[in-house]
Subunit: 357 residues, 2 copies
């Protein structure tokens, strides 16, 4: 956040208004003025949650932020503790029909096999190369993991970054024919910006590979690399031919940032319990529980994909839980209601889903 | 940093001066004004490195910061990339005769044995309980590690935090009879503050246990929990008797933040290469190499403990490398000279060592 604050120019009008205001008020008030006010002053002109339909869900966000930022409110949250965490796949962008990183991994298979020709006859690479969609759809979770591991390791962190950038530039989602980065949910972008304008630091906490998400998180969500927490493989420090240090990604899991791994990694990397958390599946359950169990008012929200027309419907909305991506069974829905998590209905609460619409 | 920026009041004089300046200049200049200037304007009145003797070492810090923050300089560093990393033990505070966390671990032994009486007859606990200083001094690195592991695991993160706070309040360093937190090096405090005032985010990157250091890092160095990277044990997510989530520290290493672990963890947690790094021993070697190998001007500094009167002398200063704490052999000194790392002589470069002096 610091970086953005430093680089984002403040508008001339805001500055002049601030300058006049500062000159007008007394010394006591001035010495108490936190920089946060500068940011807040910029956001009052339009509805910061314009893509949300009015109703209790939108109101829950507004009420939470109002309480957290009002020093007179008993649920006021000190600026240092304003942490909000967001799952990525299915919470901040589309995760159907496959997680974006899985699409990437599958697209990498020809290059992987080119580098190691012996893999052409080894499963699951053989099936992926065959192009047989029915057989590919039947690959097990373990097969998919093997492909992801092969795609995300065995190279330097810089080489991986370059590959990801190249892929993101050309890959298109099969349904919308848009770059994957265009499939960010506009209402969630607004929540991120709204929280940030109110002094929250916004983190992505994802089961996807951290270095994959870091490539686009700053550009798409304004979330810098140090605020992306994700699954990660072990790194190996070594030297290149010129004797320069080199970090190589090993095919060995270090952080599995899903389920219980989410609160574990939040403690590891942030060291503070979030005051707001957002998810959409069983993989987010422990993060939402951990957030909600903290003292004072905490906001836990969960996106229900119930809009087959504009996006997808899965989980309790269809009564048919999808065990492969974004599993949201009835049991999780029941826990949400019991624990006071706010369920976001994509169909009813979101006026608009994508920025390109 | 964000948190500090939000909460630190700006002085009345600065605000009035800024307000007048803003009203005086034209629109084009105003819209380009980054918040960084506010911070910088506060630091020009006194020498920010007042505890340093004038000379090439102090000058190297000033020159680096000047270049990094001057948009017209070819070594200008964008605010988002202004990352500085500091080793802790021997770099930011005293690490002799034992690392502070090792003193803590030894002091915890009676409580550990009380909880598990069978350990009273098991080494190395038996030797520690005996109070035989000669025998204790002969414990191997592996023995010490076993004591540290026992002291730092088997409880919730909250219980560990409470224990550490209690210990820090009463423990005193044997030589200065001061709380350990008072043994922070004043010149390094000034470097941290100087970098921060110039838009750098300052991280601790330590071989000591992350959660131990987080307890005091904000109070002592102004470094918040999310900017403390250290060694860490695996966490286990579970529920307490009331069904509330609980993070328990397991006796199993997750991150070993020393030697090659430092650049690995910097990538894992920050995801950017530092522009400045500070260390004092072989455990910092890879971090300094990694920092220095980045493009553009990078600052790598290493503290040489050559002042037996005011602190300690070890490493090449005495020709007697200490393999137990802060190993700084001649070979590392030679690499420093070859790679252009700046060697800080405690004796010659520091006017004052502690704030309490």
């Amino acid at each position: 956040m610091t970086s953005q604050r430093f680089t984002r120019p403040i508008s001339r009008r805001s500055v002049l208004a601030l300058a006049s205001a500062l000159l007008a008020v007394g010394a006591a008030a001035i010495t108490d003025l936190p920089f946060a006010r500068l940011a807040r002053a910029q956001t009052v002109t339009a509805d910061p949650l314009g893509s949300w339909n009015d109703g209790p869900v939108k109101q829950a966000i507004v009420d939470f932020v109002r309480a957290a930022t009002d020093p007179a409110n008993r649920n006021f949250v000190g600026p240092e503790d304003r942490i909000a965490t967001f799952d990525l796949d299915g919470t901040l962008w589309v995760s159907h029909p496959m997680y974006t990183q899985v699409v990437y991994a599958f697209d990498r298979v020809p290059a992987i096999v080119k580098a190691k020709p012996e893999l052409a006859k080894v499963e699951p690479f053989k099936t992926v190369l065959s192009g047989d969609q029915a057989a590919i759809a039947k690959l097990s979770a373990k097969d998919v993991e093997a492909i992801v591991t092969a795609a995300f390791s065995g190279m330097s962190v810089e080489a991986f970054r370059a590959e990801t950038i190249k892929w993101l530039e050309t890959a298109r989602h099969p349904r919308w024919k848009q770059p994957y980065t265009a499939l960010a949910y506009q209402p969630m972008q607004e929540v991120i910006n709204f929280l940030r304008a109110n002094g929250f630091r916004t983190y992505i906490v994802t089961g996807s590979i951290q270095d994959f998400v870091r490539v686009f998180a700053e550009h798409v969500y304004g979330i810098p690399p140090e605020q992306v927490i994700g699954s990660a493989d072990t790194l190996k420090f070594g030297y290149d031919a010129d004797g320069k240090p080199l970090l190589t990604i090993e095919p060995k899991v270090l952080l599995d940032d899903d389920f219980a791994g989410k609160p574990d990694d939040i403690h590891l990397i942030i060291g503070r319990r979030p005051f707001a958390a957002f998810g959409n599946s069983t993989g987010d359950r422990q993060m939402l529980e951990y957030t909600k169990a903290g003292r004072g008012l905490r906001l836990a929200m969960i996106v229900l994909h119930d809009d087959a027309n504009r996006e997808y419907a899965y989980g309790p909305a269809e009564g048919l839980p999808d065990t492969r991506v974004g599993y949201f069974p009835q049991e999780l829905y029941d826990e949400a209601k019991k624990q006071g998590w706010v369920v976001i209905s994509m169909k009813n609460d979101w006026k608009r889903i994508f920025a390109f619409e």
